[in-house]
Amino acid sequence: MEDTGSIVAFWLLAALTLGSALAVVVIRDLIRAVVLLITSFLGVAGLYITLSADFVAVVQVLIYVGAISVLLLFAVMLTPRASRDNAETFFQIPAILLTGLVAFTISLVSLDTDWTVVERGGFEETASAIGESLLDKYVLPFEMAAVLLLVAMLGAIVLVHPEGTEEE
C-alpha cells in the first residue's frame, strides 16, 4: 500500500462505503436506502480490488449488487405502503446496544491484531485457487452449504405456496 493511487483509492472507497452505509441508516425512504446500500456494496467491491482480490470483488458485485439488493427491492415492493419508510421502532434501544457491542468488538480486535504488511506483487490469479480449495480441501463445507441453501429454498417455497393452488 505504498503507492499513492492505492491509498487515494482506499480512502475514496472507504468514504463511499461508510458514507452510504451511514445514509442507509439515516435516510427515511426505504427504496433510497436500498439504493445507497448498493453503493455501499460497490464500495466494498472496490476495496476488494485494491486488495488484489479480483474474484471476490466480482463475486461481491454479482451476489450483493446483482442478487441480494434485488431481493431487498422486491421485499420493499411487497411491503404494504404504510410501513414503507424507516419509521421509529421498538427496537431502537436494543439495536443501539447491539451495534455498540459489535463496534466495541471490532475495535478491540483491530487494535489487538498484530497487523503485518503482506508482500505481494500485483494481481494474481485468485479464481482458480479459490476453485481448487473449494472443491478439494473444503469440499465438505461447500457441499453442506449448497445443501443448506437448497433446503432453505425449498422451505421458502413450501411456506409461501398457498394451499390448494396446485394448478396455477
Binding site: 493511487g5 425512504d29 427504496i31 433510497r32 439504493v35 448498493i38 479480483d54 474474484f55 466480482v58 463475486v59 458485485v61 454479482l62 449488487v65 446483482g66 442478487a67 439488493s69 434485488v70 427491492l73 422486491f74 415492493m77 494481481f123 490469479e125 479464481a127 394448478e167
Partner: protein, 427 residues
C-alpha cells in the same frame, strides 16, 4: 523514432497504440502516466466507436425493419435518410424532459444514468483485437455476468421512481426476467469456461484460435441459451416484455421523455452491442477467423462479426411476436436450465476425458462437436416433447370448413393451454 516504424502497420490499431505507449514510456516520467494514457485511449476509442456504431445502427435498424415491414423507412433527412439518427438525437435533446410531479426525483434522475453503466463497462473486458482490450481481467466472464446484473437495478429504479403503474409493472417484469435469465446466462458461459479453462476473454479467444475452432461449433446449445438470455437482458424482441408497447405502453421508461428517454434508447443499443461482443468473443472466435486475421485487422473481423450478431437481434425484432412473462420464465426454469445442466455435465465429462486421456485435439474436438450437436438437437426436441410443447394442443391447426348451418364443432377442451375454461356463471 520507434513510433513511426510501426505506424505503417495501420492494419492493427492495437500495435499502433502499443507503439504510442512505448514512446510515452520512453519519454520517462512516473510509471502511472502510460497506464492512465492507455486507459484514456481505450475509453475514448470505445466511446467514439459506440457512438458512431449506434448512430449508424439506428439508421440501419430502421431501414432494415422498414424493408422487413414492406415500407421504405426513413429517407428524408440527408441522402437515403442517413442523417435521421442525428435528427432523432437532436429532437430528443431539444424536447422537454418532463419529470412527473410525484416522481422520486433523485432516483428518477439516477435511473437513466445507472442504466448506462453496465452497457459501457462490459466493453472494458472485450478484446477488440490482439491486445486490444481495455482490461483483460482474469475473471472476465464473471465480470460480464456481474456487471450486466446491475441492469436490473437500474430498470427497477427508473420504473419505481416514475410513480407510474405501467412503469412499475414493467420494472417488476424486468426484474423477474433478469433474475431468471441470469442463471441461464451463467450456465451457458460456464460451458465455455470449462472448455477454454480460463475466464479471461483473451484466453478464450486464443483457445479458439489455437484449436482452429469456434466455440459455437462445440457448444451450440450454450450459444442458443446465451443468445436467448441476452435478448432478455437487453429487452429485445421477442423478450421485450418489460417494455411491451401493446400491453404496458413502454414499461419502465413510460414516464421518461426528452434526453432521459434518449439515454434508455442509447443504453439499449449499447447493451445490445455489448452482448453481441460477448457472443462474438466467446462463441464466434472473437477477432480471429481461421487465419484471416493475418491479412485483415483483427478489430475489423471482430466488428463485422459483432454487427452480424447485432443484425440477428434486429431480425428477431422485425419478425417475432412477444412471449408472455410466465411463459418466458417457464422457458427459463423448465426448459433452458435443465438442458444446460445436462450440457454442463456432458461438457465437463468431455474435458475430463480429453485432458486425462491426453488425446490430440484434432481427433477429440470434431468428435465432441458431433456429440454436442446431436445432443443439442436431441435434447431440445426430446425435452419439448416431454414438456408437451409438441402436443396437438400446442400446434397450429386450420379452421373447419362446413356447409352445415347451426352445427356445433366445439370440442370440449380438457386441460389444454394454460388456463381452464371458466363458465360465465361463475363470475
Amino acid at each position: 523514432m520507434p513510433v513511426l516504424a510501426k505506424w505503417y502497420d495501420l492494419r492493427d490499431l492495437g500495435n499502433a497504440v502499443g507503439a504510442f505507449l512505448d514512446w510515452i514510456r520512453d519519454l520517462g516520467g512516473p510509471d502511472w502516466i502510460p497506464y492512465v494514457v492507455s486507459g484514456l485511449i481505450g475509453i475514448v476509442a470505445i466511446l467514439l466507436w459506440l457512438l458512431v456504431s449506434q448512430l449508424a445502427f439506428i439508421w440501419i435498424e430502421r431501414r432494415v425493419i422498414g424493408r422487413m415491414q414492406a415500407r421504405i423507412g426513413p429517407n428524408r433527412v440527408g441522402p437515403w435518410g442517413l442523417l435521421q439518427p442525428i435528427a432523432d438525437a437532436l429532437k430528443l435533446l431539444l424536447k422537454e424532459a418532463i419529470t412527473n410531479r410525484y416522481a422520486d426525483k433523485p432516483l428518477f434522475w439516477l435511473g437513466p444514468v445507472l442504466i448506462f453503466i453496465p452497457a459501457l463497462v462490459v466493453f472494458a473486458v472485450i478484446p477488440f483485437g490482439e491486445g486490444m482490450s481495455l482490461a483483460d481481467l482474469n475473471v472476465g466472464v464473471l465480470f460480464v455476468i456481474a456487471i450486466t446484473s446491475i441492469n436490473a437495478i437500474a430498470i427497477f429504479i427508473s420504473g419505481w421512481a416514475s410513480n407510474n403503474k405501467f412503469a412499475l409493472l414493467g420494472s417488476m417484469r424486468a426484474i423477474a426476467m433478469l433474475i431468471s435469465y441470469e442463471l441461464v446466462q451463467a450456465f451457458a458461459l460456464l460451458g465455455v469456461v470449462i472448455f477454454a479453462g480460463s475466464m479471461r476473454l483473451g484466453d478464450i479467444v486464443a483457445w479458439q484460435s489455437e484449436f482452429n475452432t469456434w466455440m459455437f461449433l462445440l457448444q451450440p446449445l450454450a450459444l442458443v441459451a446465451f443468445l436467448i438470455a441476452s435478448a432478455v437482458e437487453i429487452n429485445r424482441s421477442p423478450m421485450d416484455i418489460s417494455e411491451a408497447e401493446s400491453e404496458i405502453v413502454a414499461g419502465y421508461h413510460t414516464e421518461y421523455s426528452g434526453i432521459k428517454f434518449g439515454f434508455f434508447y442509447a443504453a439499449e443499443y449499447f447493451a445490445a452491442f455489448a452482448v453481441s461482443g460477448v457472443v462474438v468473443t466467446l462463441f464466434l472466435g472473437g477477432w480471429t477467423a481461421w487465419g484471416l486475421e493475418e491479412w485483415v485487422p483483427g478489430w475489423l473481423i471482430f466488428l463485422s462479426k459483432l454487427y452480424l450478431v447485432f443484425f440477428l437481434f434486429i431480425w428477431t425484432r422485425g419478425t417475432l411476436p412477444r412471449l408472455r412473462i410466465d411463459q418466458l420464465m417457464a422457458f427459463s426454469w423448465k426448459f433452458l436450465l435443465e438442458l444446460l445442466f445436462i450440457h454442463i455435465l456432458v461438457v465437463g465429462a468431455q474435458v475430463l476425458i480429453w485432458h486425462e486421456g491426453d488425446y490430440p485435439a484434432e481427433v477429440v474436438l470434431p468428435i465432441f462437436a458431433v456429440i454436442n450437436w446431436t445432443l443439442a438437437v436431441a435434447l431440445i426436441v426430446g425435452w419439448a416433447t416431454f414438456m408437451g410443447h409438441l402436443s396437438p394442443e400446442r400446434r397450429a391447426k386450420r379452421a373447419v370448413l362446413t356447409q352445415e348451418l347451426g352445427a356445433i364443432y366445439y370440442r370440449p377442451a380438457d386441460g389444454h393451454g394454460d388456463r381452464p375454461t371458466r363458465p360465465l356463471e361463475e363470475a
